[in-house]
Amino acid sequence: MIDAVDCKRIISSSFLLMMISLSDLNGAYSLFAAEKSDHIAEERFQDLDLFRLSSNSVDSKGWLGPWITSRILPPQIVESPLKTTETSRQDVLILGTGDRNNPLRRQLAETFTDEELFVGYRFLYEPDEIAATQTDPEFFILWLDRTDGSDRAVHNSQVPNIGVHLADRGPSRSKNVFMVRFGSQQTAWSHRELEPGKTYHVIARVSKEVPGERNDYSQLQLWVDPTAEDADQPLLTLNKQQGINQIRWAGFATGVKTEVEDRIRVGDLILSRSWDDVYNFLQSDSNHSPGQSSQSMPQQLVWKEPIDFRDDIYPILKERCFDCHAGEFPDSGYRLDVRNEFLGYSTGEAFVLPGNSRRSHLIDVLTSRADDGRMPPDDEPLSEIQIAKFRAWIDQGLAWDDELLPAPKVESDHWAFQRISRPEVPRTIPATQQAHPIDAFIVTRQHEHGIQATESASRRILIRRLYLDLLGLPPTIEETESFLNDNSPDAYDELVEQVLDSPHYGERMGRFWLDLARWGESQGFQHDIPRPFAWRYRDYVINSFNNDKPYDQFLKEQLAGDELKNQSDETLVATGFLAAARISGNQMDKEIQRTEVMFDIVDNTASALLGLTLECAQCHNHKFEPLSQRDYYRFLAFFSQGQMGNLKLKQAEQIPAEEIKNWFSKSSYNFYLSEAKKLKINPAEYEPHTWGFYSPVTGNSDIEFLPVVNRSPLPYSPEFLKRQQTSILVRGVPGSPGLPVEPGWPAVLGTVPSELSPTPRQALSDWLSSPENPLVARVWANRIWQSHFGRGIVSTPSNFGTHGSLPSHPQLLDWLASELLSNGWSTKHLHRLIVTSNTYKQSSRLIPKSLEQDPENKYLWRWPQRRLEAEAIRDSVLVATGELNRKVGGPSIPPQHVEEQLRRTIYLTQRRSELPDVMTMFDAPDGIKSCSRRDVSTVALQPLYLLNSPFVVSRAKKLAELIQADAGQERSTQVEAVFLRTLGREPTEIEKRQAVSLFSDPSNQVDISEETSEDMQLIQFCHAMLNLNEFVYLP
């Protein structure tokens, strides 16, 4: 409604509109009537002998050669509905075949490669009975191609298609709508539904965003029944696609969805250099006479009074926009109830340029005549007055009312984002039980659900469980015996201390950390060139766990080892966490190469340390977590002034270059050397170094960055890194920076101080380990819990967001996290608490009723047995045979040296494309993405490995030798000895009988091979024992 006052405040100015329209066109095409010379080719299909012409020459209409019709089903010439009493007119009738058909096509006189081409045609889909009752999928297009495509060809991949098709997604899904596409995978669907019986004028613009003869047509725009003023108002736009680079043929095609009943009339085809030329050509053929504009110029209203946000703008926003554009998770992903968001605060993409409505995207979308572009969608456009008010509001500086629409506090009531407070330990457990706090929490939950738990496991099982669980190695017979013979009441507690003090603990726990860090000893991707000194980080991790390095310090060294005041070789090595990212060797676009590394670092750090799926906010605000795209790029800004590479160490020993060849397979080392040679690098001249992450801007200045061997390494330039300013990448695309951002953590997790430099990553790690941080302690406590029970209290260990699993025992998780915080972030303290609980010490015996109540064992009513990891399986074999070389740390062992150095599996060379067989077979991660929990798969190749690999066969032989030496020749004694060495227990009577009966002569006669003096049958028995479920399961 326009009241009297409003009317007075409005003046009309058609002149202004003209100015805007022209300037907005970027000179691409003009509103003025086109010259005839814009014509490229045209056809009105009026010649009765049209398809019988056989000239191969260029004709006056711009074609070369005749129309080619399909032999599958040619088109017919029929009378046109446009026929008038004065003129006889005809159309081409195309019938469907229920299959691909190219009924009509023709070559242009000249191949067209210019920047833009306009094409228009007239068509009508005849109504049919099926379509009247149900949605009958349709397909009909005009294509523009380099080739004629034959009768049946698919003008698909990279070929501009303009027409109608059944939408398979989006709001138009399951409707026949107008669309444009470059092949089927790159379709833009309009909302304009095809109405049978209606004559349409279709216009399209095909253009090259980068002009050049050999560059792609990458953009398509579509108009359906436009008016003369619609040249700048396409219905659809499809940008940045991969298309053909030249156009030589045009034609129509039908498809599978064009059924034999379908009848399509086509007339008036034109290709031109100007929109107006196409428009006029189509108009002049219809009932409109040429030159007669269908509408007069619309007038643009201008609001001249000062805008009052509360009265003038807010009501429109509220009524027309807020349904989809307000609140924390707006359907659209964009919110307009926050002033900052008009300026692109969280997405980097500004809708408004205050003071300049003409350059404000908001006005474009309000005034667009495109179905898929105008806001509000599927609804009446805003009125002229409303739009005029919006223009004025922008031009006057985007005034806001903070009382009405205050800037929102980013906050969430999600449990994991709340500060950790220490829960009381429940007291409701039966008085008879010794109250271990963990048991108190667990038993309380079991009681709530009326679930009965099992009794304690035997001491034999306990020691085996404790060793395999905390060390990844089974106990030796001596260790088992000594524990079983220790009758003191604190024997188990002492055992726990002993195990936690073992240097092998770090190798076990460290491997889980390496999974999280997606660590490997190569660059990844196609070439996967070795990173010779990446092993130093592996050792850093192992040593850190062995020393029970406080977790906060552990994180600080890994995130900011180059920034710390007390920086040392050790903290530099620690940055290998960030530097475990892969980097492509043949990415020539250095911006993309660098951005991909940054993405990897951000995704991994957020996932491993915070348990957040921050990667979802790379291209848009997170769909269900309170994480914005701004959060993502602020997090990225912590790292963007740094780079991965070889960093010189000060204290480390020089390692001779020829040594390195013993760390990798021959072929990968030779490849490394040849690539180094191409770069004119001689690794032999390197001083001692590590593979790490360094920022010459925020890191200590005395760190030296050595050249990197890769096919096309990222150049290293301190000046470049200094100039790096992180911006939000609009829609996540490298090369399209939006608003610049400063380093910061996700706003929902706490306020970021205005000043984080000069050492931002150190500030990040300080924040991570502050007691206010709600996630870090919970996430880590949960991972420790998972390492013992196979499943975390939160079963999605790297997703603590609103879509992660809820904790099965929330109180217990917070209690554990509090314990971590109040005990100096001691990881071993948590292990100790957990493994001394009764919950941990339970047997795995099944209680049918409990199984029925809780089949997943969520409430831990029994010990959850599970298969050992690849490393623990291989290492267990080596312990059983007494061959394990227990040396801790050092360079990795390549396949050719495995047999001479029977080291733990964690020390086998981890080139990503060449992982040890035992790891790829038994579900070890591939070092590409952070792995928070390993799968357990069961495939037939696994038993083949354990039964036939020379490695395991050699171990069986070795075990048999040991047994012969220890247990003599008596079969039953041998059997007992093998049981003890492999399963850590004696056989039962029936097991012993079964085992002895395996030997061909059970009468205790030994069958020794004459050639090798090997006891074949004993070897085979030993080998069998290494294959048992009991052997490869954590009991």
Partner: protein, 472 residues
């Protein structure tokens, strides 16, 4: 002793043994393999429409065989030897790096002849394959935009240059399972591994479960770790397995229901059958010397690829679904004449032998054979080399592959490149079109073969591709 004899049929029949049906189903459905997480499969295995084609043999010539020196003769190239590329052609070539349009044209050092009833021209590099030209459907108009080996290999074998999607073979075994009960359903063999390294994604599973991955087989050693160690007789192994089974059953009893443990028990039986079958299948000595000669196994240059081709036929006989033979070293940047002569010599006879053998055994109809590389090679010389040291650069903008068997209409050529062989001028086709065609040939509808991943129904041709109808 208590003989613990069982076989799969007994197990199937007698649930009384305590096997959870879940575990069994997981194992049986997917040829010898099980996965703890079998609930995710959103597709019922089996073809969408009837097809008599059962297997695919992909002869992947890695490095990029030159189309203008093999299946796409260009007399104009001979005429313009040493000339710059005419401007009229340069304009046609998409702006991809290293398309070599500024270098000099190089005539093929090989001559072409017409062969067979169809009269399709083939160069004298491949005289043996040429004899089967009436069985070949030669596609001369393939093109894509990736001029680098690794991503090119990935796009050819997985559809995506990033190598982050399932390989074609994985989709086939996921979609159809395998009829080979005692062998992996997707087998990969690699010969002459000089040149660009094989790309793991080429036989990987991407987001599909690990059990659909290709198994890399060494023709000498067979299925990884399938050779019975010297110290065993088959009887020894059987007895040993019986003992393992008995012990595992004891262990399971204490645990009662545990499908993971049950699956592991069953995997030993399947592994054993695989081990028993594989050496027989891989043992080529049972073939007549005539057959061996047909594949060139008796001659040094052809022996390795000949063995692989013969094995491919034997695997087809066993019902293996997808066989990928990778032959490396076609990357002739320099000395193309020598390089291609050697590569052709090593592969021509074996490929011809395979076609002939499949045909005479009536297997060609049920086996789709596909030959080609990740791209072709430019019509121009790379750099400033002269004489026989000249080679060609990568040409993804236009190249040739061929199909045979599997209902393919032989003796036809699809598509044309321009007079120099730079870009298709008729019927341009993409690797994705080829993927759609392969799926179609075996009765799979590319749009119905779905797998639910991250709440999204993934299909094999998500990046496009349409069945090339005229192939059949």
């Amino acid at each position: 002793m208590n003989p613990i004899q069982f076989n799969r049929r007994v197990l199937l029949g007698e649930a009384g043994l305590g096997f959870g049906t879940l575990a069994l189903n997981a194992l049986l459905q997917s040829n010898s393999v099980a996965h703890a997480d079998h609930s995710k499969t959103s597709h019922q295995q089996g073809a969408h429409f009837p097809s008599h084609v059962k297997s695919v043999i992909f002869l992947f010539m890695s490095g990029g065989p030159s189309h203008v020196d093999t299946f796409d003769p260009k007399p104009t190239l001979t005429k313009l030897e040493g000339e710059p590329v005419p401007a009229s052609i340069v304009g046609n070539v998409p702006n991809i790096p290293r398309s070599g349009v500024n270098s000099k044209l190089m005539a093929s050092p090989f001559s072409f002849q017409k062969y067979g009833q169809s009269g399709i021209e083939v160069s004298d590099l491949l005289p043996e394959t040429a004899k089967h030209v009436d069985d070949l459907c030669v596609i001369r108009s393939l093109n894509h935009r990736i001029p680098v080996h690794g991503p090119g290999e990935c796009v050819t074998l997985t559809g995506s240059g990033l190598g982050d999607r399932p390989s074609l073979g994985a989709w086939f075994t996921y979609g159809l399972g395998s009829e080979a009960e005692n062998l992996p359903g997707f087998v990969v063999m690699s010969s002459n591994t000089t040149g660009p390294a094989p790309q793991r994604p080429g036989w990987g599973t991407g987001f599909l479960p690990a059990r659909y991955q290709g198994t890399l087989i060494d023709d000498q050693r067979g299925v990884p770790y399938s050779k019975l160690p010297d110290l065993y007789s088959t009887d020894d192994r059987r007895k040993q397995l019986n003992f393992i089974h008995w012990m595992n059953q004891q262990h399971l009893t204490e645990q009662a229901s545990n499908s993971e443990l049950e699956a592991r028990i069953e995997s030993y039986e399947l592994g054993f059958r695989m081990q028993m079958t594989a050496p027989e299948v891989l043992d080529l000595t049972t073939e007549t010397s005539h057959t061996q000669q047909m594949y060139g196994i008796d001659q040094k240059p052809t022996a390795e690829f000949g063995r692989h081709c013969l094995l491919a036929r034997r695997l087809v006989e066993q019902g293996v679904r997808f066989i990928q033979l990778r032959n490396g070293g076609w990357d002739a940047h320099g000395a193309l004449k020598g390089n291609h002569t050697n590569r052709a010599k090593a592969t021509d006879l074996p490929v011809a032998g395979l076609l002939q053998d499949l045909k005479q055994r009536g297997l060609l109809d049920q086996t789709l054979v596909l030959w080609g590389g990740e791209f072709g090679r430019t019509p121009t010389t790379e750099g400033n080399r002269t004489g026989d040291s000249r080679g060609r650069d990568h040409s993804p903008a236009g190249y040739t592959m061929w199909l045979a068997g599997g209902g393919v209409r032989g003796g036809q050529v699809i598509g044309t490149t321009d007079e120099l062989g730079y870009v298709p001028v008729e019927r341009p086709l993409s690797p994705h079109d080829l993927h759609a065609t392969l799926l179609h040939s075996l009765g799979l509808d590319q749009h119905k073969l779905t797998y639910l991943h991250n709440n999204r129904e993934e299909i094999p041709t998500v990046l496009g591709g349409e069945v090339i109808q005229e192939v059949f």
